[in-house]
């Protein structure tokens, strides 16, 4: 009970301290709005902010789904064929290490803004899922692999009946990392697309509020993003616990 309350109490204490500090030092809202003002702004602008949140979160979730399917599928192909892994893994690493902020403007030339945002979010979420899945597939218990071989199991059976379930803990680690990154990727791409984009996502709302010097609105949008990230992580952690309950003591 104390353990589950600890983060909530810490958050409440921080917010109260922030509120008290703003009031005590009479900090103007344009410099640092109080949490109460941010909450009020959030309520006043609930409709556009929630619509923007749905857009950004929707793109992030689509990207995560595509990255999960693509990452795990590619890891299985690489595990099946070390030659393909040797041929294509450097390309995947190249994509991963190229800064997203440099890739986004290029993608915006070739794709419409929504597709470009989706592609950016996919690119950042994809690699951790791929590399974790590969690590999991490679870390399969050697004795079990030998037992499967001894019993005449084909490479396909070893991959699907042994290596894939063995890799599940690492695959879920990749998904938890990829979930957060897909949101970051979506926001970064929205920021890059901001001026030319469709102006639907939360990042666009932040930029727009910044232009109008509506600082509390910027904070409200950032708070929503933070909430989305934490919620996404919590959902993925819950799914991971559920799927891996047989592994746990």
């Amino acid at each position: 009970m104390t353990k589950s309350l600890a983060p909530a109490l810490t958050l409440v204490a921080l917010v109260l301290f922030w509120e008290a500090a703003v009031r005590f030092f009479a900090i103007p809202p344009a410099q640092l709005p109080a949490p109460s003002l941010i909450a009020a702004t959030l309520c006043d602008n609930a409709r556009p902010l929630l619509a923007a949140t749905a857009t950004t979160l929707g793109v992030a979730l689509q990207a995560l789904l595509l990255a999960a399917i693509g990452g795990v599928a590619l890891a299985l192909i690489f595990a099946w064929s070390p030659l393909l892994e040797k041929a294509f893994l450097p390309l995947a690493i190249g994509l991963q290490v190229t800064p997203l902020i440099a890739v986004a403007p290029l993608l915006l030339i070739y794709l419409n803004s929504r597709a470009a945002v989706l592609a950016c979010a996919f690119l950042v979420a994809f690699f951790p899922i791929l590399s974790n899945a590969l690590a999991g597939l490679d870390a399969t218990n050697r004795g079990l692999v030998e037992l499967f071989r001894l019993k005449g199991a084909s490479r396909g059976k070893i991959l699907l009946l042994l290596r894939l379930p063995s890799a599940l803990p690492q695959i879920f680690t990749g998904l938890r990392i990829g979930g957060g990154l897909s949101l970051i990727g979506a926001v970064a791409a929205e920021l890059a697309a901001g001026a030319a984009g469709s102006g639907e996502g939360l990042a666009f709302r932040i930029v727009e509020a910044g232009y109008r010097l509506k600082i509390p609105l910027m904070f409200a949008a950032v708070a929503l993003l933070c909430f989305c990230g934490v919620a996404l992580y919590a959902v993925l952690a819950g799914l991971s616990r559920l799927a891996l309950r047989r592994w746990r003591d």
């Binding site: 079990l144 030998e146 037992l147 001894l150 005449g152």
Partner: protein, 247 residues
């Protein structure tokens, strides 16, 4: 007794110019015997077992099977090597599943194997809920579930406490009686070899080869309580010391 398999001039090295792990190794393994491979660490006991199982290929020499091809082989590793996500039933069912036997058809055989290793009520348990000794019993059940003619065990009880080790030694002797399989058991314990074996093959190292073959005087349950047990231990110990002196 006729040999189930004969090893002739086996040589194995992990690289063409590397020192061989095994060299000029000859050995007959007889139908129905319990052969213990004994030797110091690194002498190639486990490698020899893996060669017999077909998990390694010799650089030269031959493994000649009496029936022309290897029979059904059961293998027990140093670690239990259970699938952590699968319950005990699914773990024991694995060899039959890989052989294409349906779960329903396999169920009586799986339950029989579990009963034989003393775990008739553990089918639904997960590996993490079992003790080290119980995990090894499950591993044994998995090795015997498809009725292997040859059972290969690679120091399976080395990590267990002494009491559990004796219990599993007794279980293995009982399984030998019930399943009439040929057993090749790798160990570095003189006492375990004297307790289990009908014959002990003492190996020397660098390169690994058979240094002495010791048939033991009697065989059956609880050999460690027999009057000849201390003599057997002494005989095996001396042979081991001679082999180590040559290594």
């Amino acid at each position: 007794m006729r040999p189930l398999l004969s090893l002739r001039g086996l040589r194995l090295s992990y690289a063409p110019k590397a020192a061989p792990v095994l060299d000029q190794l000859d050995l007959d393994i007889f139908d129905g015997e319990t052969l213990c491979l004994l030797g110091q660490s690194g002498c190639g006991k486990s490698t020899l077992l893996r060669l017999i199982a077909g998990l390694e290929q010799p650089r030269s020499g031959a493994i000649i099977w009496a029936e022309g091809a290897p029979p059904q082989i059961g293998f027990v590793f140093q670690e239990p090597n259970l699938m952590p996500w699968a319950d005990v039933f699914a773990n024991v069912y694995l060899p039959l599943r890989l052989a294409g036997v349906s779960r329903a058809k396999a169920a009586p055989r799986v339950m029989q194997a579990l009963a034989q290793v003393g775990l008739p009520d553990a089918a639904q348990a997960l590996p993490r809920q079992l003790s080290g000794g119980m995990k090894m019993r499950v591993s044994l059940a998995r090795a015997i579930v498809d009725g292997p003619k040859l059972l290969l065990l690679d120091e399976p009880f080395a990590a267990l406490d002494e009491i559990t080790r004796w219990q599993l030694n007794d279980l293995l002797l009982q399984l030998r009686g019930e399943n009439a399989a040929t057993i090749v058991f790798v160990t570095h314990s003189v006492y375990e070899a004297a307790n289990l074996a009908s014959r002990v093959a003492v190996m020397r190292a660098r390169p690994g080869k058979i240094d002495a073959l010791l048939p033991l005087s009697e065989s059956g349950l609880a050999r460690r309580h027999s009057v000849s047990y201390a003599d057997d231990c002494g005989k095996i110990g001396e042979a081991l010391e001679r082999a180590m002196a040559k290594s």
